[in-house]
C-alpha cells in the first residue's frame, strides 16, 4: 500500500542554521499521525517541505506516492498552516469557495462540500460574516474547514488547536476523528501532548531536526503497570508470590508496584492483595504518559544520538530504565 507520507533523510538548512537535520518518516493511509516536538524542532519546516512550499537541501520524500510538491497531488491534500490568516474582507463561505476553486473541486459538489465543512467546524451560523471580525479561534476553525474540503486523502494540520479554548479542542478531536472515519490520513503537528495522546495512532517525536522516537503510541509508552497502596500485608512480602504471575512485583513501604501487567487483570491483583488480608487504600493504574516520554527525550535525559532514529522505533523495548525513572516521577506528582 502506498504510504501517505514517506521521507528519507529530509534535510533543510537556512544558511548555517539547520532547521531539519534528517527526517525519516512513514505515515500510513488512513491513520492519525502525531508529529511532536518542542518549538523550533523543525516541525513546521517539515510540513512546508511536504507541501513543496520550501525545497529540501538534501534527502527525498513522497506524499501520496508522488514527489514532494507535486502539483496534482496538492489537490488531494488539505492543509491548515500554523500561521492561519485568511482574506479578512471575504466571508467564511467565500474563503471556502476560493479554496474549493483552487483545489479544483467540481462546481456541482462545491456548495454541498462547503456546507458540510462549515457545519463540521461549527461555523455554519457565521458562514456569511466577514472573517475580519472572527476571533482567532474562529479563524482556526475556518482553517480546519478549509483543510477538510473535498475529503482529502491527507490532511496536514499544523498546530490546529493553538488558538482554541478547551471546548474548541474537544471539537477538533471530533473533527479529526470524523476525517479519519472518512478515510483521510491525518498528519497532526503539535506540541500539545494530551491532544496527541488522545488522537493519534502513531507518533514521531522530533528534536533538533531529527526523529528521536517513533512508533505506535502503545509501544512507545510501554506496558501498563499498577501501583497499589495497601496496609496490613504480611511482612517481607510473604504470600505475594501469587502476584508475580501478573507481572514484576516491587514492594516499597505501603506501595506495591506491578509492572507489565495486563490492565484487565488489575482487579485480580486487588483481589489477591485483599485475599492476603491487605487493606487497599489506593489503586493507581499507571502508564508512562506521553509527556514523560517526551520530556525524557527532549530534556536530555536521553541525548538524541543515543535514542537515534533506529533505537527510537524500539523505544519501548530499549527504555526500561527510562520507564522506572519516569514512573517514579509520575507517582510523585499524583500523590
Amino acid at each position: 500500500m502506498t504510504a501517505a507520507i514517506e521521507t528519507q533523510g529530509l534535510r533543510k538548512t537556512y544558511g548555517r542554521t539547520v532547521a531539519l537535520d534528517a527526517l525519516d518518516l512513514r505515515v500510513e493511509p488512513g491513520e492519525v499521525f502525531g508529529f511532536l516536538g518542542p518549538n523550533g524542532a523543525g516541525k513546521t519546516t517539515a510540513v512546508k517541505l511536504l507541501l513543496g512550499l520550501t525545497r529540501p537541501t538534501a534527502g527525498d520524500g513522497r506524499v501520496l506516492g508522488r514527489p514532494l510538491g507535486d502539483r496534482a497531488t496538492r489537490g488531494r491534500i488539505g492543509y491548515l498552516p500554523e500561521l492561519f490568516r485568511y482574506q479578512a474582507w471575504l466571508t467564511a463561505r467565500e474563503v471556502l469557495t476560493l479554496h474549493a476553486q483552487l483545489a479544483g473541486l467540481p462546481a456541482r459538489v462545491r456548495d454541498g462540500e462547503i456546507d458540510r465543512v462549515l457545519e463540521l467546524s461549527g461555523l455554519a451560523a457565521r458562514a456569511d460574516d466577514r472573517t475580519g471580525g472572527f476571533s482567532k479561534g474562529m479563524q482556526q476553525r475556518l482553517g480546519l474547514a478549509a483543510a477538510l474540503l473535498g475529503d482529502p486523502a491527507l490532511v496536514i494540520l499544523d498546530e490546529p488547536t493553538s488558538a482554541l479554548d478547551p471546548v474548541g479542542r474537544v471539537d477538533v478531536r471530533a473533527i479529526i476523528g470524523e476525517a479519519r472515519n472518512r478515510g483521510s490520513a491525518v498528519f497532526l503537528n503539535s506540541h500539545l501532548l494530551g491532544e496527541v495522546e488522545r488522537l493519534c495512532d502513531r507518533v514521531a517525536i522530533v528534536h533538533r531536526g531529527r526523529v528521536v522516537a517513533a512508533g505506535a503510541l502503545g509501544d512507545l509508552l510501554g506496558e501498563s503497570s499498577v501501583r497499589i497502596r495497601a496496609t496490613g500485608l504480611p511482612a517481607a512480602g510473604g504470600g505475594l508470590g501469587a502476584l508475580a504471575e501478573l507481572g514484576a512485583v516491587e514492594h516499597d513501604d505501603d506501595w506495591l508496584t506491578i509492572r507489565h501487567v495486563d490492565p484487565e487483570r488489575i482487579p485480580d491483583a486487588v483481589a489477591i492483595v485483599v485475599g492476603l488480608g491487605g487493606r487497599v487504600h489506593a489503586v493507581d493504574p499507571g502508564r508512562r504518559s506521553l509527556e514523560d516520554l517526551f520530556l525524557g527525550l527532549v530534556q536530555g535525559t536521553q541525548s538524541p544520538m543515543e535514542a537515534g532514529v533506529d533505537a527510537g522505533v524500539d523505544a519501548a523495548a530499549g527504555g526500561p530504565t527510562g520507564v522506572e525513572g519516569d514512573g517514579a516521577m509520575i507517582a510523585g506528582e499524583r500523590r
Binding site: Y14, K48, L51, L53, T54, R55, R71, A72, T73, R74, G75, I77, Y79, L80, P81, L83, F84, R85, Y86, Q87, W89, L90, L98, H99, Q101, L102, A103, G104, G143, A146
Partner: protein, 288 residues
C-alpha cells in the same frame, strides 16, 4: 499556466480592491480633483475672456494647463499603482495568507499573473476613466478638446501598468513598503532623467541625452509619458515648435514633438512581459 486559476486570482484581486473600499477612495479622489480642475479652468477662461485675451491664446493656455494636470495625475496614478501592487504578493507572504493558497494545486506563476491581471484591469480602467473625465470637464468649461484623447489616456494607462508591474515584481522578494518606495523613487527618477535628457538635446549635449535614453529603455515610464503629452498637445503648438524655436521648446518637459516611436512602444510591451517573467521566476525560488 492554468487560465482558470489565473482568473480566480484576478477576480479575487478585483474583489479585494472593491471590498477594501480602495476603489471608492480612488473614485472620490478623482471626482474631487476633476471638479477642482473644472473650477480652475473655468475661472482661468472667464478671467482671460473678460480681459480680452485672444481665443486662440486661451486655447493654447488651457491645453498647457491640461498637460500639467495630466502630469500630476500621472504621478498620483503611479503612486496608486505602486502602493496597490507592492503589497499584492508581499503582504500575503508576510501575513501567511499565501501559505494556505499555495498548498493548493496552483502554480506560483498563476498567482503572480492573476494578481497582475486583476491589478492591471483596475489601474487601467481608473486611468482611462479619470483621464477622459478630466478631458470632458475641461471641454465643458473651455471648449478645448485635445487632438487625441484616446491616445493620451491609453499611454497614461500603459504607464501605470508599467509601474504596477515593477512594484509587483519587487514585492515578490521585498517587503511591501520597500517595494512601493523603490518603485516610486525609480518612477520619479525616470521622469527627472527624461527632463535632463530633453535639456541635453536642446543644448546638444549628446552624452547626457544618451544616458537618458538608456534609462528610458530600462524603465519606459517617461517614454510613455511623452505619448500622453503628444495626445494632448494641440497641432498649433506642434506647428510653432517645428519652426525656429524648436530647440528651446524641446527642453520643456511638458512638450513632445512626436509620439513615442512604435519600436519603443513594442519594447515597453516586451519590458512588461520580461519583468512579469522575472517576478514569476523570483517568486518561484522564494522559500515560504
Amino acid at each position: 499556466m492554468t487560465p482558470r486559476l489565473v482568473l480566480v486570482i484576478a477576480g479575487l484581486t478585483l474583489r479585494e480592491i472593491v471590498r477594501r473600499r480602495i476603489v471608492w477612495v480612488l473614485l472620490i479622489l478623482v471626482v474631487a480633483s476633476v471638479l477642482l480642475v473644472g473650477f480652475g479652468v473655468d475661472r482661468l477662461v472667464t478671467f482671460a475672456r473678460a480681459d480680452g485675451v485672444e481665443e486662440l491664446e486661451i486655447r493654447i493656455g488651457v491645453s498647457q494647463v491640461l498637460i500639467m494636470i495630466a502630469f500630476m495625475f500621472s504621478f498620483v496614478l503611479a503612486m496608486s499603482a505602486a502602493f496597490l501592487a507592492a503589497p499584492a504578493i508581499a503582504s500575503d507572504v508576510e501575513t501567511g495568507t499565501v501559505l494556505a493558497m499555495l498548498a493548493r494545486p496552483i502554480r506560483r506563476a498563476d498567482l503572480v499573473i492573476g494578481r497582475w491581471l486583476g491589478l492591471s484591469v483596475i489601474v487601467a480602467l481608473y486611468a482611462i476613466m479619470a483621464g477622459l473625465l478630466a478631458i470632458a470637464v475641461v471641454d465643458l468649461v473651455s471648449g478645448h478638446v485635445p487632438p487625441a484623447p484616446a491616445v493620451a489616456v491609453s499611454f497614461l494607462a500603459f504607464q501605470a501598468v508599467v509601474v504596477l508591474t515593477l512594484a509587483l515584481a519587487l514585492g515578490t522578494r521585498l517587503p511591501a513598503i520597500a517595494a512601493g518606495a523603490i518603485t516610486v523613487v525609480l518612477f520619479g527618477l525616470g521622469w527627472f532623467i527624461g527632463v535632463l535628457g530633453n535639456i541635453a538635446i536642446a543644448f546638444d549635449a549628446a552624452p547626457l541625452s544618451g544616458g537618458s535614453d538608456i534609462f528610458r529603455v530600462l524603465l519606459p515610464t517617461d517614454g510613455l509619458w511623452r505619448g500622453v503629452i503628444y495626445g494632448l498637445e494641440p497641432p498649433l503648438v506642434l506647428l510653432v515648435a517645428s519652426g525656429g524655436n524648436a530647440q528651446a521648446l524641446r527642453a520643456n518637459p511638458f512638450f513632445a514633438l512626436s509620439p513615442p516611436p512604435a519600436a519603443f512602444v513594442a519594447w515597453s510591451v516586451v519590458w512588461v512581459l520580461l519583468v512579469l517573467g522575472a517576478a514569476i521566476a523570483l517568486f518561484r525560488r522564494r522559500e515560504l
